[in-house]
Every structure is written in C-alpha cells, then in structure tokens.
Symmetry: C2
Subunit: 277 residues, 2 copies
Amino acid sequence: MSFVQRLRTAQHAFASRVCVGLDPVPERLPAPFADHRTDPQALADFCIAIIEATAPHCCAYKPNLAFFEAQGAAGYAALESVIEAIPNTHLCIADAKRGDIGHTARFYARGLFDHLGADAITAAPYMGRDSILPFLRTPERGVFVLTRTSNAGSADLQECPIDAKGDLPREPVYQRIARLVQRWSAHPESEGDAGLVVGATAPEALAELREVCPALPFLIPGVGAQGGDASAVVDAAVTNDGLILVNSSRSIIYASDGDDFADAAAEAAAELQAALG
Amino acid sequence: MSFVQRLRTAQHAFASRVCVGLDPVPERLPAPFADHRTDPQALADFCIAIIEATAPHCCAYKPNLAFFEAQGAAGYAALESVIEAIPNTHLCIADAKRGDIGHTARFYARGLFDHLGADAITAAPYMGRDSILPFLRTPERGVFVLTRTSNAGSADLQECPIDAKGDLPREPVYQRIARLVQRWSAHPESEGDAGLVVGATAPEALAELREVCPALPFLIPGVGAQGGDASAVVDAAVTNDGLILVNSSRSIIYASDGDDFADAAAEAAAELQAALG
C-alpha cells in the first residue's frame, strides 16, 4: 500500500486530518516532570503520554529531530523509543528537513526509514533532484519537501520571482519547487510518494499550489488548536485526490503545564480535529 | 578568538587548508574491520584511526552526520566519540545541512555546538534568515551556508536567475544567497562567523562569490586528492582576508581498502595539502 493510501486509511479510521507535532523542550515539560526535566528519558515519557492521550483524535505524529538531537545520543535513543510508541494505526513523519548530495541522502534515508522506521520525512530542496530522489526509492514511504514555509525568513528566497526555464514558467521560487517535486514524484524509479510542506498562514498560496499539484499530499504546519484558520486551509487545499495533513505542535503538547497535561492535549487535538471537519 | 581566527591559526600551525571529510560507510571499511563492519563501534574506530594518521596534514575534520545517523542512537554515540578524538589543535565542522524555523534552529545549535562540541556546522538557506541567525549567536563558532553546490541537482534552483529586490540586484539564486549570508553575518547580534559552501567544480563561480563576499571563509568540497583542480580553486578564492577550507572525503579515507588504509589516507591528505600550496 502506498504512503498516500496509508495516509488516507489512517485519516478515515480516526476521522482526522490532525498531525500532532512532538517538539519537546526540557524547560517546558509539565509539572509531573519537574524533577527530571533535563533527563532525556523525561522527553520520551512526556511524548509517549501525549501519544497515548491524543491517538483517538489524530492520524499521525511528527517528531522534530532537533529537540531530540539537542541531547545527543541519549536524546536520539529517546526519539527511538517515542517512535516505537506510535501505534501501527498512525503514521510517523520524521521532521528532519534533510538535504544532501545523492550519495549522502541515501544514508539519511537508511537512518530515517530503515533504522528509525519513519513512514515519511521532511526534506529541503536547495540542492535539487539528487538530494530528494533517494527518499522516493523506498516503497510505501513518503517525503514532504519544504515549499512555502510560514516563518519570517521564508520571503528571503521562497517568494522571489524566478525566470522561465525550458517549459517551466516564470514564477515564485516556491511554485517552481512545487512543480519540480511533482516531476520528481513521477520519476520512473520513484516508488514512494512525494508531498509538499506549505504553511497555513497564506491560504491563497495553498490554493495556487493545489492547482499546480492536484494530487500531492500537503503537510501544513502553522494552524493552532483555536481552529481560526482551519476552515480556510480546508477550503483552499482539500480535494478528492489531494489530502492534507495539518500539524500542530506547541498548542497541543503544551496545552497545560500541570498534571492534566495529557487530557488538555487530547482536548486541544480534538478541537483541531473538529475544526478541520 | 573568533571562528575565523581559530581557522587561521589552525591553517598556519599545520600549513594546510585541507579538511578531511569523515563519511564512513560500513560496506567500504577497509580490511582490518572486515569482521565487524556493521558494528557502529567500527565506524568510530575507523574514523579515529584516520584522524590520528592525517592530523599532520590537515587543519579540520568534517564528519557528515548522515553516515552516523544511519545507525541510529548507537551511530550517534559513535559520532560523539569521533568528535572527542579530534585534537584541540584542529577544528570540527559538523556537516549537518540543517535548516528550520528559528525556534527549532536554536535546538539544532544546542545539539551541534553545545552537546557535540562542533566548532562550525553546515546549514541550508531555503527557509531564510531566521533559520540561520540562531547559528550565529554562539561566540567562536561558525556556520557555512550552502550556496553553490557541485552536485547534479544544483542547477534545479541555485543557478536560476532571480529578480532584483530592494537594493539586491538581479542575479542567480546562489549569488543572492551569498549576499544574504554576508548581511546576516554582519547582523548586530551575530557573535559567530558565517561562511559559504561552494563546490570546487566551477572556479568562475568561486571567483564571483569571492567578489561578493571578500572576507567570508569558503568551505569547498569536490577537490580530489589528485590535486587537479586545487590550484584553480586557490587562484579563484584565496585572498589575504578570505580563507578557504578544502574538503576531501572519499579520496582520502578510502585511499586504500587494505591494512595500510591509515598510511594511505595520510599520503592522500599530504598530496592535497601540497597541491593547495
């Protein structure tokens, strides 16, 4: 079963487009962890409690590797146990934003897919096709390529107009990347699925990108549990063929800093689930 | 002492501009490791032997994290022991090519600088300023930003002409990135040093980028131990203010697959050292 089919199955099973982002910061761990916040095991225990509480309301989890790597090999071991705890009914997106030459990208694929067991990863497009294609060689797995991010610095490069080239039109950098990802995903040797990372903050860009890539899945960060922009995101990006996976990290996992943190996280995930319809 | 001053000191001490890239691949480990190639400890032992043998001929080492992460937490622990083995007289560039929103980039900085103890790292510019500035907040450390890489896919984005914007001229994407890195490095809160990653395969691009960034250090991969392009690289990119650090990985560390692998690596490093003048 392809990654997109697996995503569709998981979304159907839980009636949810929500992805819970696991970005654990020692200083922000809730009350029950107060005595051992700097212990990498606390990161794992916190994330595992969040997973158990939120599973009925989401279809995927997205651990961001930065927060585990910050604690070195012990943090990496914590990441392994967190991924182990994600139920088989849910998908795991390793948010790694990797991008290196083809030879090296194959080893990132080995680490993220084969060793960590992620179902999909995120990758950066600056180095072009041979930095992305190795992530498409693994059947049933996916790669979401950074396309239009929602941070302040995204305007530095992503929104800049770039010349036409061959049969590619003049367009902003982020649209060019979307068009290239679409091609790479159709490469004859691509056995996995490609998708785009597109921030929720600009619904009009979401709609443009959906026209360029009618059937690629979009991973959409930047929606909070409040659900304010959720319906705009759904209107702009959801079609029969085009799935979206909406990620929320901090507004779910830090919904409470008290003993009720897991219940509060479940409630925040359920609110986002409902807002995404 | 700034990162650039430390680099200058190390280059002077060893009369070398060579950086030895540590990209260990289990299948390629030489004869002495034949019985335990898949053991992460073998990766560490191999790299440490390479470090001991090549230290007189280089000023820096560049472990690429992909090859360690491929083996998970145990591989990450091997990376920690490799970095531990780099002499204090030499610099360590963690080749991580990270790039994420500012909040997350701070945790990558924590992992790569504070935990691993790298002197500099590599980073990807697709997400713009707030993905790079957190790596410039650490005094005495450096960040080399991907600018013009030497792989096949680099043409997909990096060489495309991009419109003028504000006081930035119309120019290829890689020149725009160089100009932005130059600005970010001069940001009032930047206490570290920025540099560029520029492939050795296009000396004319090296010369253009040296004009745009007269004093930034360049990390230059893509030169083999044969020294063919070495003098062209030196002519194009070295000035009194502008240091270069020339990386070679596979042609040094796999110079021999026999019992003499360490001696052969030393010889290959010495040849590149001589070719770079």
